[in-house]
Symmetry: C2
Subunit: 200 residues, 2 copies
């Protein structure tokens, strides 16, 4: 026995999403069946809209409806700093600090020898072109890749590439999270926190 | 700072699904952005199709494209037995046994005093009508509600209602799962297994 075709197709679609297996997809598909017509129509419309109306800013790689994106367009922002992030969604976290007013660059991934992703496979060429073409306006590139092996590799690679051009390359501090308990902190984080200790 | 409107809307849509909060919805929305155009279009189409092409069989309450559903239409099935389940998806589990060839009835829920769901709020009236109108063809109603308090309440209620009509009402055995270890089995399950012990 098989599910009616419309529900089988919807289960397949849900299973294409990350972290959703057959059981969850089936549960979601049956749940969809019981949702309000308007909600399902809105869901379908918004799926089509993200593919149709959004693209990557040709300057920084952030997702945007307009070209260039809101941040690249904003001349009141500090043009001398660029924070380099792995994903567009990381920009939201940075903006939530409410204390950084420079520019961004989205790599859409990291250099990863394990996954076979090289520097040319992510948005690094566009960053180099950007740094060359802006008449030395950029004084500092702040690498904000994740605190993972690949994030670290990418940061080191960018530093080697960009520093010779006379641009300062920095990276985020590694250490204790806000409110962290010392005795619940893992050894690697503690090691980084001790190495990066600052004078009082 | 806010996400571009198309992505914000898609995040809202994902959040309407059960068990998906803001973080997961955001991750799924950004993932959708990177999916193949055809896959996203197929996803949107299948969402609309389940609402447009599927409905509940007027006899048994199972989801179906046709009316009545495949199972109700199939005269080669044993017309004397009806398995009563909570949800359409439970039918799939029953059919996977490959050993039951009777009919089904879907309640779309359970009686639940805690949630304020009474017998009239679920698909019980249609079951009673069905039993009355089929000239005593049905000899046995097998209640296959979940092994929960509400499932139990519903089973007891159905038995009280249907037995006076001279129809046998049974329910699934409760006991050890296939391959279960006694020492990992909870006390309630063991109790049921002992109570339901069969002679060798």
């Amino acid at each position: 026995m098989q599910y009616p075709e419309p529900i089988a197709k919807l289960i397949d679609s849900y299973m294409k999403l990350p972290g959703i297996g057959q059981k969850t997809a089936t549960r979601l598909a049956f749940y969809t069946l019981g949702m309000e017509d308007d909600d399902v129509k809105g869901f379908a419309d918004s799926l089509l809209a993200v593919k149709k109306d959004l693209h990557y800013c040709h300057i920084c790689g952030n997702i945007t409806e307009d070209e260039p994106c809101e941040i690249c367009r904003d001349q009141s922002r500090d043009q001398s700093q660029i924070i380099v992030v792995e994903h567009s969604r990381d920009i939201m976290a940075m903006e939530n600090m409410n204390s950084y007013h420079g520019l961004y660059h989205v790599l859409h991934g990291t250099i990863s020898p394990a996954k076979g992703t090289g520097p040319m496979d992510i948005n690094i060429p566009a960053l180099l072109k950007r740094l060359k073409s802006n008449n030395k306006q950029v004084k500092e590139v702040i690498v904000a890749t994740n605190a993972s092996v690949d994030g670290e590799t990418t940061a080191q690679y960018l530093a080697k590439l960009i520093k010779p051009a006379g641009i300062k390359v920095t990276r985020l501090a590694h250490g204790l999270s806000a409110g962290a308990d010392i005795d619940y902190t893992d050894a690697m984080t503690l090691t980084k926190a001790v190495q990066g200790r600052t004078e009082l």
